[in-house]
């Protein structure tokens, strides 16, 4: 938990990965380019003294991940967002199964999402059912730019995708996380397009659509769609890392998001291990709007707003009872491992200073 102006803020990191980009797992040059590109994002927005070397970045493992997230109590809970990329990586880059290694070790601390790819057809539908049965996934992370054979991507508003969304609805998989970021296709209209979210969101009002990276570089299209579709949310991964060296830009983007979507539909995410919540949470919590931005947008990054963005909004989507969790965390396995008893007030009120 984070303390801001004397008040506790329960932090749910809405976007984390446990990936494997070791050379022996890479089967296509796209896999190497992918992790190199990630690494540029990492160094581009990480303070120099916090940067990892390439080897640890390729594969950090469950143990280190637990330490990074919970070691200094930067994060109370985290949401796994798988990225399969099986065309590039032998065992996949960051699959539900890979994520489960840590999620099942500390089930009270993690939300484990699944994934689907409509190009998998009937087999894909069976796999989605399997993920629900095996892991009780409350959501999916979708990567519409993923390659599959000749295909270089798919759309969320296609008939095939609708069949899978229908299946999600039937299974009670309510949270549809869509990656909308740089595209890799020799391109084409995808480069700007978050518009497929529009149709999907209005066709499935019972589902929540969380657009990761708030649609950058299509923030404008994203906000305009979200302003009209109440079940569309913005995930701050990438945007939150701008606090490192582009705090003014971060302020502008937050101003726009709070103006168009409001404080109930914006979710913090570190994108770990792209960036480490170990330092990023503190940085985002300390971010401020300039006076000019406050006047322009008429919003504030105050305690009430940050409490929602950093945790409460994700808690609502994933049915997390924060007060119940706080009690549970007084003596769960993570608290014991990292000696967080005082932090969670196990010793009645010790953390309330």
């Amino acid at each position: 938990m984070y303390e801001m102006d004397g008040e506790e803020i329960f932090v749910i990191d809405g976007h984390v990965h446990l990936w494997d980009a070791r050379r022996e797992n890479i089967t296509h040059e796209g896999g190497e380019q992918f992790i190199q590109c990630f690494y540029d994002y990492h160094t581009g927005f990480t303070p120099e003294e916090k940067q990892w070397d390439m080897d640890e970045y390729r594969h950090y493992g469950a143990d280190r991940m637990a330490t990074d997230l919970f070691g200094n109590a930067a994060v109370d809970m985290a949401v796994f967002q798988p990225t399969y990329l099986t065309e590039f990586y032998d065992e996949g880059f960051n699959t539900t199964e890979q994520n489960a290694e840590l999620a099942e070790e500390y089930p009270e601390r993690f939300v484990l999402n699944g994934s689907f790819d409509p190009r998998d057809g009937e087999e894909g539908l069976r796999y989605l059912e399997h993920l629900k049965e095996e892991y009780d996934v409350p959501g999916v992370k979708l990567y519409t730019a993923a390659w599959r054979g000749e295909s270089k991507g798919w759309r969320l508003d296609s008939d095939d995708a609708f069949e899978f969304l229908e299946k999600c609805s039937d299974l009670g998989i309510e949270n549809i996380n869509a990656h909308k970021g740089p595209t890799i296709r020799p391109l084409n209209r995808d480069a700007f397009d978050v518009k497929d979210v529009d149709d999907a969101a209005s066709s499935f009002p019972e589902l929540n659509f969380i657009v990761n990276h708030v649609g950058l570089p299509r923030l404008d299209d994203f906000c305009w769609i979200a302003a009209q579709e109440p079940n569309v949310y913005g995930g701050l991964a990438v945007a939150s890392a701008m606090t490192t060296n582009r705090p003014r830009k971060f302020g502008e983007i937050m101003g726009e998001l709070l103006y168009w979507l409001g404080e109930d539909r914006v979710l913090f995410g570190s994108d770990y291990a792209l960036w480490n919540p170990d330092w990023l949470v503190d940085q985002v919590m300390n971010a401020e709007l300039t006076d000019e931005q406050r006047d322009e947008y008429g919003v504030e990054l105050d305690v009430d707003t940050m409490r929602k963005v950093m945790g409460e909004n994700a808690a609502r989507l994933y049915d997390i009872d924060i007060e119940e969790k706080k009690r549970q965390f007084r003596d769960d396995a993570v608290t014991e491992r990292f000696d967080l008893v005082d932090h969670y007030g196990g010793d009645a009120g010790a953390a309330a200073d």
Partner: protein
Amino acid sequence: MSGSRTDAGGTGARDAVPDTADDRDEAAVTARLDRVEDPELARSIVELDYVGTIEIDDDRVRVTFTLPTAWCSPAFAWMMAVDARDEVEDLEWVREARVELHDHMHAEEITTGVNAGDTFGETFPDADGGVAEVRATIADKARVSRQREAIEALLAAGVDPVQIVDLDRGDVSLDGDDAHVALDGLSVVVDREPVADYLGRAEASGHVTTDDDTLFLTPEGEPIPADQLALVQKRSRLADVNMGGQGAVCDALHRARHGPNGPGESGDPTA
């Protein structure tokens, strides 16, 4: 420079050919390249430090450039390469310009295709949607993002929203440092820059090309109902923030790949 906005140099605002154009040197080539924009950011590729080396061999010029990520959209990379080639070849003393894209997942195809004079479709047969379509979308976003300041200037000069949405292209004329706006027999004078900037972008987008065309439009390209002007202004602000936000991302990635001095200064950019 990071994250800063270019003031001049936009497609619409650059009509003057620099005086150095006749010199057979790097400066003349750079001045030409400065007119090429990263379409996603609407900023010059020179300002963005994408240009690596420039080699001049009599009437032949070779230019290398590198983008912030190997994954930058091939269509954008293509546009910049073609524009760079055309701009340099427009110099009178240049017979042939060769443009090389480095460190991109499609570097080879793009370099080969552009220098052979092929089309994007020939180079990437599986791409759906052509470069023209992407250019049109980009140009339209630039139009929307620049409209706000022009309207702000008129509002600040006391022009009523109802009058603003009624203006046609023909009601505006540029004169020196001023822009004159005709309103029922009256003329309001505002700064030239925001108006000229907007007009250039609007025209490049294919909107607002004749005197009878409505001057200001919604992002969808329709006339603006007066009671929607404030909302359209917010959408214009949003379009501008989007471009700047993407600029910040590209700039950080570019520095991560090449260090603060750009590709020309680094040792091995693929490291």
